[in-house]
Amino acid sequence: MSNLVAQHPVLVVAVIKIAVLMFLLLTALAYLTWFERKVVAHIQSRWGPYRAGPHGLLQPLADGLKFLFKEDVTPSGADRFVYYLAPFLTLSLSLTAIALIPFGPGEFKLFGQRTSLGIANLNIGLLFLFAITSLGVYGVALAGWSSNSKYPLLGGLRSSAQMVSYELALTMSVVGVLLLAGSFNLREIIAAQQGFLWGWLPRWNIFASPMPQVIGFSCFFTAAIAETNRLPFDLPEAEGELVAGFHTEYASFKFAMFFMGEYASMITVSCLATILFFGGWLSPFPQIGALAWMRYLPTALLAAGSAWLVWDGIRYETLLGKIVLPVLGVVLAGLAVLIALPGANDFIQGPFWFLAKVFIFLFIYVWVRGTLPRFRYDQLMAVGWKLLLPASLANIVLTSFAIVVGKR
């Protein structure tokens, strides 16, 4: 085995990158729940989590501890193997999908190996991403079946029908992008979106020249929300009618695994929307002299954030907040200085724009959840089959026509 490792130093680098990404991702997942609760609370004129730590910043930790210490109940008559398999499948598949996402154009050296940001760079990256998400149905369907209980079974049945129907629209809506880019490789898809129309409009696929992928994007994002079982398409877990749908019988850490899987796939979908339609890590501003200061935008944002944290921390009610928030602010200020340094500044541009766009999509996810009511089941099927699928097929036809006519 050590021989294998010595022959393939790439493996070592990959393992290290996976470990780092895993740590960052799990932290991001925890704080995504905090972010969602805060935003939904503010949409509904509430304060959201406020007790555990300043501004509820320790809430994810408290939640995690609670999940760990809850009693782990297995319903009688449950199919034990499948019952344990389902949450594991959900979480591991949605974490695997992140491995295919490239986070930036830069390369760096690790143990003498040049590697890029992102774990795997496949020729057919996009197809593999869809392959992994298409397996995600099993987690939900099997959880519903194995619980040996009627509400979960109904949730599982609904979810398998829903996810299979929307997967079709999801895959079809992306074909327009593939036609424009001519590749399945996510890095090449981003590279194909470089440049500006008329000097100011970025040539991202959503504004692309022969045929803007507006229809494709709307279909993609709607179908993706349905694929991740989020409101307004969260019928598999509709708490009003099915108690909690497929995870009614799950408690403790197994429930937490479903929870984390859902949020991880939210992040994947946001990354995918960024890459496919919004130019990935490409900056929305043209590289001209008048906009050269844009490279210090990340620094400026971080500095502003740190100033606000310090100011807010001093006025905060509790002693813990008075200490923690200014310290966080100082850390952010240090980061701001660090990424203003010439070498780091170039490296940070790609990831900054990428993460900024991903953050916007995550916000839209939460925003939609806070705004729209749940669909009825027949409405859901009608949207999937009678609206999204024909629209995405029409998008394919229109895009291919536009490309052929544009080439002439």
């Binding site: 020729n123 197809l127 869809f130 149905v137 519903g144 079946w145 895959t171």
Partner: protein, 164 residues
């Protein structure tokens, strides 16, 4: 052993284990899960053979759509454990040896025929080449399959429709 050979044996063991488990499991859901394991293992083998596109399609269509349909139907019909009926004596005493014999014979002849065939070592198949082939040389069969699918959809709808 090279990394490739190790991977091959791991995936082959997964595939055979899944297939055996398909036979031994008594509940249809467990059989379906075993079959999914076989399919994922086969997708891995296709990757080893450099057929990237086919590997992805194998997972998307087979494991992600067809098997979901199977699982869906099993859940919908609430199928229970398979009834342990009296397996006909023919099947037990003739079928099993015959299946075994068929396997050995197939393996012998196929492997014997191709044993001298040196594998063409090349990188992964470019998907572009596959697409060119599909839409130039095989465009007629491709169009025919679309008609086939349309008919299948119609057939499924007509068959599964509840009589009122």
């Amino acid at each position: 052993m090279s990394l490739e050979l190790v991977l091959f044996f791991v995936l082959a063991a997964m595939a055979i284990g899944g297939a055996v488990s398909l036979i031994l499991q008594r509940h249809p859901i467990h059989s379906a899960l075993s079959l999914i394991v076989v399919m994922v293992a086969l997708a891995g083998l296709y990757l080893l053979l450099g057929a990237e596109f086919i590997a992805a399609v194998q997972i998307i269509v087979y494991a992600g759509a067809i098997m979901v349909l199977f699982v869906f139907v099993i859940m919908l019909l609430n199928a229970g454990v398979e009834a342990r009926t009296n397996v006909s004596r023919m099947a037990r005493y003739v079928g099993l040896p015959l299946g075994f014999f068929l396997t050995v014979e197939l393996a012998y002849w196929i492997a014997g025929g191709a044993g001298r065939q040196a594998p063409v070592s090349a990188g992964p198949t470019p998907t572009r080449e596959l697409a060119r082939m599909l839409f130039r040389e095989f465009v007629f069969p491709f169009e025919l399959t679309s008609i086939l699918i349309l008919i299948a959809i119609l057939g499924a709808v007509v068959l599964a429709k509840k009589e009122t």
